[in-house]
C-alpha cells in the first residue's frame, strides 16, 4: 500500500462543508448542481448564493440567553429586595442562588464553563448594583464575593432540577418564575433587619514617641497624606478630597468631603495627651447602605518606659448587613485597614517631627 500511495492524489477537507441553506444538509460530493436530498432546495456549488458554509449552530446561542436571563433576574431581585427589605439571607444568599439555579437550569455546558459563568453572573450583578449606585464600593465587593459560592450551589441545583425534570411530563418552563420567586418569599418570611447590635472595633499600635508628640500627630482618615490601601481606594465614597473645620475643642465640627459623599464629625471629648472622642453627626453617601457610623475615639497611653505611646483607635457603628457571620469578618477587615492607615499616618508624623510642631 505504501508503494502505491505515492501515485495517488490524496486530498484533505476543502474548508468547512457546503450545506443546504434551508436544512443544513451537507451537500459535498452530491454533484455541482442538484437538489438537496432532504428538503429539495436547489443548489449550485459554483454559486455561493445557493449554499452556506455556516454551521447550523453557534455556540454562544447555547449559553448567552441563559447567562442574560440569570443576570437580569438576579439584578431585578436585588433592585427589588435591597430597598424594600435591606440585606439579609434573601439578598445575600437566596438571590445569587436563584440566579445560579436559572443559569444551571438553562445552560447545558461543561462544568468548567458553568463555574466560569456563575463567577461572571455573581460579579456582574454586584458591579451593576455599584454602577446604579444601589450599593457602595465596599458593600459591592463584599456582596460580590459572598455571592460566588451560593451562585455555584444554585448552578448545581439548576442542573439537578433540569436533569430530574427531563424524565417527567411536567412543563419545565413553569419552574423558572418559581425559582425567581423563592428569594422574594424568603425575604417576606425573614423581614427587615431593622435593629442590629452596635459593633465596636478597636485597633492598637505603639508609636515610638512620647504621648505629647503622639497627641500632636492625631489625624483623621481624611487628613492622612499617603495613599489609602486598595481596599479603601476601590470605593469612591472612601476616597477623601479635602476637609474643613476644627477639631481642637469640644463642640468643634470637622467636615470631610469625599469623591462621593460627605461626613461631619463633632468633637465630644478632649483630654489633651490622653483621649480625643467624636461622634458622627452627618453621613451622606458613605456606605450608608452597609453601616451607620456612630462615633469613635483616639486613646493614648504611655508605655512603661515613658518613651513610647500606645494608641487605641476605636470605631462604633450600627451594621445594616445580615447575616452577620458572613459580613462581620469583612467589616472587621475594612475597619482595621482604615485604622491601620490612620495609625501609619500618625506614626510617620510623630516619629519624624519634633514635639510641638503642630
Amino acid at each position: 500500500m505504501i508503494a502505491r500511495m505515492a501515485d495517488v492524489d490524496f486530498t484533505g477537507p476543502e474548508g468547512p462543508p457546503k450545506r443546504c441553506k434551508v436544512c443544513a444538509y451537507v451537500l459535498d460530493h452530491l454533484g455541482i448542481v442538484g437538489q438537496c436530498p432532504e428538503c429539495g432546495q436547489p443548489f449550485n456549488l459554483a454559486d455561493p448564493m445557493t449554499y452556506t458554509n455556516k454551521p447550523p449552530f453557534l455556540w454562544w446561542t447555547f449559553w448567552m440567553p441563559g447567562l442574560l436571563t440569570a443576570f437580569a433576574i438576579g439584578v431585578a431581585l436585588y433592585l427589588l429586595l435591597i430597598p424594600l427589605m435591606g440585606y439579609g439571607w434573601a439578598t445575600t444568599v437566596a438571590v445569587p442562588t436563584a440566579a445560579g439555579a436559572i443559569l444551571g437550569y438553562r445552560v447545558q455546558m461543561q462544568w468548567a464553563v458553568l463555574v466560569l459563568l456563575s463567577l461572571i453572573v455573581a460579579s456582574g450583578m454586584a458591579a451593576t448594583l455599584l454602577m446604579m449606585s444601589v450599593t457602595g464600593g465596599l458593600c459591592t465587593l463584599i456582596l460580590g464575593t459572598l455571592a460566588v459560592l451560593p451562585a455555584f450551589c444554585g448552578v448545581c441545583v439548576g442542573v439537578l432540577l433540569r436533569t430530574h425534570l427531563k424524565g417527567t411530563k411536567f412543563t419545565q418552563r413553569l419552574h423558572l418564575p418559581m425559582l425567581a420567586l423563592l428569594p422574594v418569599l424568603l425575604a417576606l418570611i425573614e423581614g427587615r433587619h431593622s435593629q442590629m447590635a452596635v459593633v465596636t472595633t478597636s485597633t492598637v499600635a505603639t508609636l515610638n514617641a512620647p504621648p505629647d508628640r503622639a497627641w500632636q500627630s492625631i489625624q483623621f482618615y481624611e487628613q492622612v497624606k499617603h495613599r489609602p490601601p486598595w481596599l479603601l481606594y476601590v470605593s469612591p465614597s472612601l476616597r477623601p478630597l479635602y476637609t474643613f473645620g476644627q477639631s481642637g475643642h469640644v463642640g468643634d465640627r470637622k467636615t470631610c468631603i469625599y469623591e462621593r459623599g460627605r461626613l461631619v464629625k463633632e468633637i465630644t471629648e478632649v483630654v489633651p495627651g490622653k483621649r480625643l472622642a467624636f461622634k458622627v453627626v452627618e453621613q451622606t453617601e458613605i456606605e450608608n447602605d452597609g453601616v451607620r457610623l456612630i462615633d469613635g475615639s483616639f486613646e493614648l497611653t504611655p508605655t512603661a518606659d515613658g518613651r513610647g505611646t500606645v494608641v487605641t483607635l476605636t470605631t462604633r457603628y450600627e451594621p445594616k448587613l445580615a447575616p452577620r457571620f458572613a459580613y462581620l469578618p469583612a467589616e472587621n477587615m475594612a475597619v482595621h485597614t482604615l485604622h491601620g492607615h490612620v495609625l501609619r499616618g500618625m506614626k510617620e508624623d510623630a516619629e519624624a517631627a519634633p514635639a510641638g510642631h503642630k
Binding site: A24, P37, T61
Partner: protein, 170 residues
Amino acid sequence: MTVRVTARRRVVCRAVVPLPLTARQAWGQLRDFHRYAAHDHFHAGFLIEGGVPQAGARLTIEHRYGPFRTRRVGRILRWREGEGFAFSDLSIGDARRAFPHVLRMSVGPTSEATCALTIAVTGRWTAPTPRWIARLWLAWVFLQIVQKTRNGLLLFAATSQRPGAPQIRS
C-alpha cells in the same frame, strides 16, 4: 454500549444511539466525513484519495498521541447515501499489526421522526496486554467517539427545533 475483547483478541465495540432526527436528517450531518470520522480521540485528520469519500477510496489517517504524530492508512469500505459509512484503520507497515480495525457508522429509522445511530468498531487487539486492560482502554476511547458523535447530532437536533432555526422538512 458494549465493548468485548474475546479470548482470541477479537474486538467488538458497539453502541446504538437514539436520535430525535429522521434518518435522512442524521445522515445529512454524518456525511461530513472529515468531521465525524475524526471523532476518534486519536484521529487528527484524513486525506482521501481523489478527495471524494466513496466506497473503495483509500485514506491516509493522521494519528496524534499527545506530542507524537503518526500516519496510518485505510480504505472507505462502505459509503451508502442515506445509510452510513465504514472505513478501515491499519498500520502503514503491516496491516496485521498495531490494532487493525474498522469503524462503522450507520443510521436507520425507528419511527417517522426518529432514528437510531449505530456506531461499531471491530478489529483485533494486538498489544500484549491483559484483556481487561484492553477492554478498559477501548471502552474509554469508544465512549469518546460515541459521546462526541451523539452530542454533535443532538446539538443539530436542538438547534433545528429552535424558533428561527432552519426549517427542516422531513
